[in-house]
């Protein structure tokens, strides 16, 4: 019923959205988050490499989804994260949550991405015209995760 995937292939956020929408008629609210590779203007990102800890990512994502399900009454949940080489405009992560009411769906979706950002073992390395650099942690991400 839930879909939790870590994959090198591109995914289609719209298809994942529609699959969730048709997965249940008992849950009237569907909230999705899609994170995309941004094309910054100052030092443009040419590509992004997403490294991960293969043995741990699956269990970390499953654990985060399980936590969300103890906190809110949710229907089907989809969580897909890409690894490997990505280009601007491509989708990195998709989080889709269904629930009977919208407040719960919004909260659970934001919780999932906030927790994923600080608890799942993925690391981004950007290639720009001035070279390669590991993306630094944003303190706002820690603050966001600590709210829950």
């Amino acid at each position: 019923m839930d879909t939790i995937l870590v994959q090198t292939q591109a995914f289609n956020a719209g298809e994942l959205t529609n699959r969730l929408a048709s997965a249940t008629t008992a849950h009237g609210a569907l909230v999705t988050f899609t994170g995309l590779v941004r094309d910054q203007t100052s030092d443009p990102v040419e590509s992004l490499f997403l490294e991960h800890y293969p043995g741990m990512t699956d269990s970390a994502l499953n654990d985060i989804v399980a936590q969300a399900k103890t906190r809110w009454p949710l229907g089907p949940v989809t969580l897909v994260h890409r690894v490997g080489l990505l280009y601007p405009g491509e989708s990195i992560v998709f989080v889709g949550v269904t629930s009977a009411h919208r407040a719960e769906a919004f909260q659970a979706c934001e919780f999932l991405i906030d927790y994923l950002k600080v608890k799942a073992p993925f690391w981004k390395k950007e290639t720009t015209p001035s070279g390669q650099r590991w993306v630094a942690t944003r303190s706002s991400d820690n603050a966001a995760a600590e709210r829950w």
Binding site: E51, Y53, I92, K117, W123, A136
Partner: protein, 80 residues
Amino acid sequence: MIRVLFFARLRETLDCQELDLDFSGTVTELKADLAKRGEVWHQAFHAEEVLVAINQVMSKNDECVKAGDEVAFFPPVTGG
């Protein structure tokens, strides 16, 4: 024996992906041992924030590592 893994910037800094070691003790003690492997190792384990997972679960410095464990060290995560 334990297996020690390094990821992302830390793996690059140490130029090391994986080690097999004879060790038992806490994570703090393991870090101290690793820091003795050279200047780069000393710097990496003292100057930067290093997270640890034992057997693929996020762990703390005071937790114990025993034979057969997989211990991973890595920088703060930046996925999503």
